[in-house]
């Protein structure tokens, strides 16, 4: 039953975010800012660039190892959403056929290079986003967004999304199980029943929303929710911000792979 497995999989990223490590303890605001700057740097490269992008793997790898996050969990998710990136770049080799390099006698067209560049940028940015969630609890991210002056309505929507995602998933899981228990083979699994399941789920969620609203009113809700502020920026956070931005800047302005290659060939000679 794949749905069950996927369900537990969603909770997994959340479980990881409650670990305790250096990167877990960093202020969420700093992590969001650094990750955002990282993404900006990565997408700022021209379309044929490949080798200069490689040093940027340093940041996701750092989060992965310092946060003690299993590679498999992230790699799987990156792989599952990769079709989006693949389809963006898949026609590049057909359109852009001009030869740019010749590697061991094989001509490489600009299209292939830009396709590969898109894939690398995709892996870098998406794995960083996933890792950001895995090393920062979701409430932490929401707190940071609120303190970074994102409109409160959005932050509260996100908080409720997080709270009720699991409740709704569990509810749909139970409904699916009930359906599977009484359907045999493919009978009872037609789209018709699925549509009904979805509509029942919608009605249930509306009812639930009403009850939640009552619970909020019961406790004096007047349209204002305060997000708890737990984190405080300290020296480590500032250091982390400064060092990582400097490193990104160096990666961006110096062609590290070329430099390494030149040094090596000089040594070998």
């Amino acid at each position: 039953m794949t749905f069950d497995l996927e369900f537990f999989n969603i909770g997994y990223l959340d479980t990881l975010s409650y670990r305790n490590s250096f990167v877990h303890r960093l202020d969420p605001r700093i992590k969001i800012i650094v990750s955002f700057i990282f993404v900006l740097f990565v997408v700022s490269f021209p379309k044929y660039e490949i080798s200069s992008l490689i040093p940027f793997f340093f940041y996701p790898v750092f989060l992965l190892t310092a946060g003690n996050i299993p590679l498999k969990a992230i790699a799987k998710k990156v792989f599952f959403i990769s079709p989006f990136a693949v389809f963006i770049g898949i026609f590049n080799p057909l359109i852009d056929t001009g030869t740019l390099y010749t590697v061991f006698g094989v001509p490489v067209s600009g299209g292939w290079l830009s396709f590969l560049s898109i894939l690398i940028k995709y892996v870098l940015t998406v794995s960083t986003a996933l890792l950001l969630i895995a090393v920062t609890s979701f409430p932490g991210i929401c707190e940071a967004l609120e303190r970074l002056k994102l409109p409160k309505v959005f932050v509260i929507q996100l908080l409720f999304l997080y709270r009720y995602l699991f409740v709704l998933l569990e509810e749909s899981l139970r409904m699916m199980r009930a359906r599977d228990a009484r359907s045999f083979g493919n009978r009872g699994k037609e789209i018709k029943t699925f549509v009904r399941l979805i509509s029942v789920l919608l009605i249930r969620s509306i009812e639930r929303a009403e009850m939640i609203y009552r619970a909020m009113l019961s406790r004096g809700f007047r349209g204002e929710i305060r997000v708890l502020r737990r984190h405080r920026i300290n020296v480590y956070d500032i250091l982390f911000l400064m060092i990582s931005v400097t490193v990104f800047y160096l990666f961006r302005s110096f062609h590290l792979v070329n430099l390494l290659g030149e040094t090596f060939s000089r040594v070998l000679r």
Partner: protein, 250 residues
């Protein structure tokens, strides 16, 4: 002591779809009393509680809670006096962490940060769940969720505590802990439940409702041992009393 009296006068409630859920209920609950409300499914228990806590406004009749008459204008004041523990804990706990959830009420009361912290701590200590304060609600067991739900309400410092099926989905040990917790509260308590043993343990008085009317109102010990009355209302003797009741006078 007249300030926490709950008084219902000929209460009627009609749902918009025409269902008459409450059909003229009159009773009075005094300060510090603990009252169990029993009745079969769909007989109006939950509707009655929603009326008592100001979530629904009676279509006819009156509710007075501590000298405040329930109207559209006063409902917020009533909600503040009445702590409502919902039947489903997932409806009750809507904030991302236990601490924030318990703090939600006190923050809305406009208390200062230190006061809020104090309230949260004492409410969580009361139910023995302070160590769970940083957990998200979806990582709690049902018994823990129930205890935290009660803490969220206790942090509001209510005059009256209303609970809808507090022991549903609890394992025997959590249920026993809940009963002991409830016994320790000095508040006016109104508990709706099918769990007649719980009512017998926690409440001195019991009201049975059927089709939106009060059919019996009196000491819990008397009403919950009246077998014909209970059976008429789709209930049965509390399990703890079944054995002795069968033996009867012999």
């Amino acid at each position: 002591m007249s300030h926490h009296i709950v008084e219902l006068k000929d209460l009627h409630f009609l749902y918009p779809d025409g269902t008459e859920a409450i059909n003229g209920i009159t009773f009075k609950i005094f300060h510090g009393e603990s009252v169990g409300i029993a009745g079969a499914n769909g007989m109006g228990k939950t509707t009655l509680l929603l009326n008592l806590s100001g979530h629904l406004i009676p279509t006819k009749g009156e509710i007075d809670i501590g000298e405040v008459n329930l109207t559209k204008k006063t409902r917020h004041e009533i909600m503040r006096k009445v702590g409502f523990v919902f039947q489903r804990t997932d409806d009750q706990l809507f904030m991302p962490t236990v601490y924030e959830d318990v703090a939600f009420g006190p923050v809305n009361l406009g208390l200062t940060e230190e006061k809020v912290d104090e309230r949260v701590k004492s409410a969580l200590d009361m139910v023995g769940c302070y160590h769970l304060k940083d957990r998200p609600p979806h990582r709690l067991s049902e018994g823990q969720k129930r205890a935290v739900s009660i803490a969220t309400v206790m942090a509001m410092d209510p005059d009256i505590l209303i609970m809808d099926e507090p022991a549903s989905n609890l394992d025997p040990k959590s249920r026993r802990q809940l009963i002991n917790l409830l016994k320790g509260f000095k508040h006016t308590k109104i508990v709706a439940s099918h769990d007649l043993d719980l009512i017998l343990d926690v409440c001195k008085r019991c009201i049975i409702i059927r089709e939106g009317r009060v059919v019996a109102d009196g000491p819990a010990e008397e009403i919950l041992l009246n077998k014909p009355l209970l059976e008429e209302n789709s209930l049965e003797l509390p399990l703890s009393r079944q054995h002795s009741a069968v033996r009867g006078p012999f």
